[in-house]
């Protein structure tokens, strides 16, 4: 009897397992998605800058130096100084901490609340779903600025409160997308089986439905981080976000346009570039992640 030769195209279980290790998956991602890898590298550099700001920044970001006001970029002050003589590079590095904290904090907070509520809405259906949809409609239509003004007026300004103000509008956006995916999951037999076994609603939602809508959630989350960073910059620019002298990119742009347009344009240029670069990195990574997770959405 002759032995059957193994098909070279069919991988053994062991080989499949070996292929799916996180390290190999990451390596595969980097090889297949160079732009996404570049985006991830940018984000990691910004996160590292924020975490190690105390060691990277050459100057105190909050200390005024009236002998060095509005200096153009030079070897001592790489990105120049602002109207108070503060080193712009140091403020950008510390600003990365604020941006990342608010960006990731608001995105994760808003995303998780939206995830649970969206899945719960799809699971319960009926009146709960109808009321939830109307609440989402109200929050979607409501101007962010009023929410931000109310949060800031009631609780005061500061990084944490800005995070709350940005988290609230992210909840309905996540809730709506997740609900659409969860409606399909609700109909699959294992949810019926879980119900028949007498599992609690919380257990069915959290253990059986939520893990099955994680793919669209992760895609959404990456977009939310960028949106939250842009929202934080906008609110800080309006004076409703982080307050002086804390370093924040949006705050650094406040009053810099007309006042120093001709004399010190670098005051406005570098903080804006930092925002663009960070959100660009997140967008590139998010796009690549979406392609990797859901091939149906490729090229969108």
């Amino acid at each position: 009897m002759t032995a059957i030769a193994p098909n070279p195209d069919v991988l053994s279980d062991e080989a499949l397992l070996r292929r799916r290790t996180p390290w190999r998956l990451a390596l595969n991602f980097c090889r297949r998605k160079p732009l996404g890898t570049l985006g991830l590298a940018i984000v990691l550099v910004i996160i590292a800058a924020g975490l190690c700001a105390d060691w990277i920044a050459p100057f105190d970001p909050e200390e005024n130096d009236f002998n060095a006001m509005m200096q153009a970029p030079n070897f001592v002050h790489l990105f120049g100084t602002d109207q108070f003589g503060r080193d712009i590079f140091s403020r950008l590095v510390f600003g990365a901490r604020t941006a990342m904290l608010v960006g990731f904090g608001a995105a994760v907070g808003g995303g998780l609340i939206g995830l649970v509520l969206g899945v719960a809405s799809a699971y319960f259906g009926g009146w709960f779903d109808l009321v939830f949809q109307r609440v989402l409609d109200v929050l979607m239509a409501f101007p962010l600025i009023i929410l931000a003004l109310a949060v800031v007026s009631v609780f005061g300004t500061g990084v944490f409160h800005v995070m709350i103000a940005i988290t609230i509008p992210l909840i309905p956006r996540c809730g709506r997308v997740v609900r659409a995916s969860a409606l399909a999951v609700r109909e699959v037999p294992y949810v019926d089986a879980a119900r028949a076994l007498g599992f609690s609603h919380a257990r069915i939602i959290l253990r059986h439905m939520v893990p099955n809508v994680v793919a669209p959630f992760l895609i959404l989350l990456s977009a939310f981080v960028g949106q939250a960073i842009l929202a934080e910059a906008g609110l800080s620019y309006l004076g409703l976000g982080v307050q002086e002298p804390v370093a924040a990119w949006g705050l650094m742009l406040q009053g810099s346009a007309e006042d120093y347009a001709t004399t010190a344009p670098w005051i406005a240029i570098f903080p804006g570039l930092a925002i663009v670069l960070t959100v660009l990195g997140i967008s590139l990574f998010g796009d690549a992640l979406r392609d990797a997770i859901d091939p149906k959405l490729r090229d969108r």
């Binding site: 109307r134 609440v135 409609d137 109200v138 979607m140 239509a141 409501f142 101007p143 962010l144 600025i145 009023i146 929410l147 003004l149 109310a150 007026s153 009631v154 960028g226 842009l230 910059a233 906008g234 620019y237 309006l238 949006g250 742009l253 810099s256 346009a257 007309e258 347009a261 001709t262 344009p265 406005a268 240029i269 903080p271 804006g272 925002i275 663009v276 670069l277 960070t278 959100v279 660009l280 997140i282 967008s283 590139l284 796009d287 090229d299 969108r300």
Partner: protein, 323 residues
Amino acid sequence: MYRYIVKRLLLAVPTLVGAAALVFILMRLIPGDVCVIRMGSGGSHVDAAAVALCRQQLGLDNSLFVQFLDFLWSYVTFDFGNSMWSGNPVAQEIALRLPVSLEVAVLATVIAILIAIPLGTISALKENTWLDHVVRVAAIAGIATPSFWLGIMSLILVMNISAMATGKPWLPPIDYVPLWQDPLRNLSIVLLPAITVGYRYSAVTMRLTRSAMLEVLREDYIRTARAKGLLEQIIINRHALKNALLPVVTLIGIEFAFLIGGLVITEQVFNLNGIGRLLVQAVQNQDNVLAQALVMLVVIIFVVVNLVIDVLYAWLDPRIRFS
């Protein structure tokens, strides 16, 4: 179709009442009193009796429930009341500021459509060529760029160029003139804000146009049209683009609705006296009547635009109409 519209209108009622309740509560949560702000804005001593009289005149001494019912009733009767700060009718205050915001929003939408649809289509047709890559990078950069920073950069550029040319930096005028009175002056006020907002808007639309076109170009009916020997231009314009534009129309509408409520920062950068700035001023002055009216205006525009999009969508796509 009529049943669908009626159903959608009925569903809009709880949204509007919910938004009214939310803005009502939020305005009451913000600490401060319009009467105290009005009388003490010069830093002078505020007479408690005068404040009490002012509160009585403005109806602020009524219970919150009565105030809320008054607020709802004013929208049923279309009598929106007077601004608590200036005393002018709310409708008049809004009518003064709405044209500039509306013009910026409409112009930004036109700019976005003019950029996004041709570039998105070309990008899809030339998939994976250098042209496609350039368009995609421009689109991602547009999404990553805060429009207020783009506004600041455009101002810096204009000021520096004018300073070099004439020796004096030029800034766009801030006193709004309607288009039909002085078109040149009007455009010098609204064009830069519209371009900065329109670029971001076009980036989002461009991406969707490209992806929708790519999807449609892979459909069987396009292959059939090609097999029939139809001209490529006819295939693209009549068969592909027409179908690909369905989701794009939705996005344009949604972005427009968001734009009306999101012009605050752009108006701040360009010193435009639109409804965005009016809203911030109303909240800061504790002018509840005006702030509530402005928020309701934004919400109503959002709801109406969404309704129009859905009806348009159902009208354009028979599959939705008859489902």
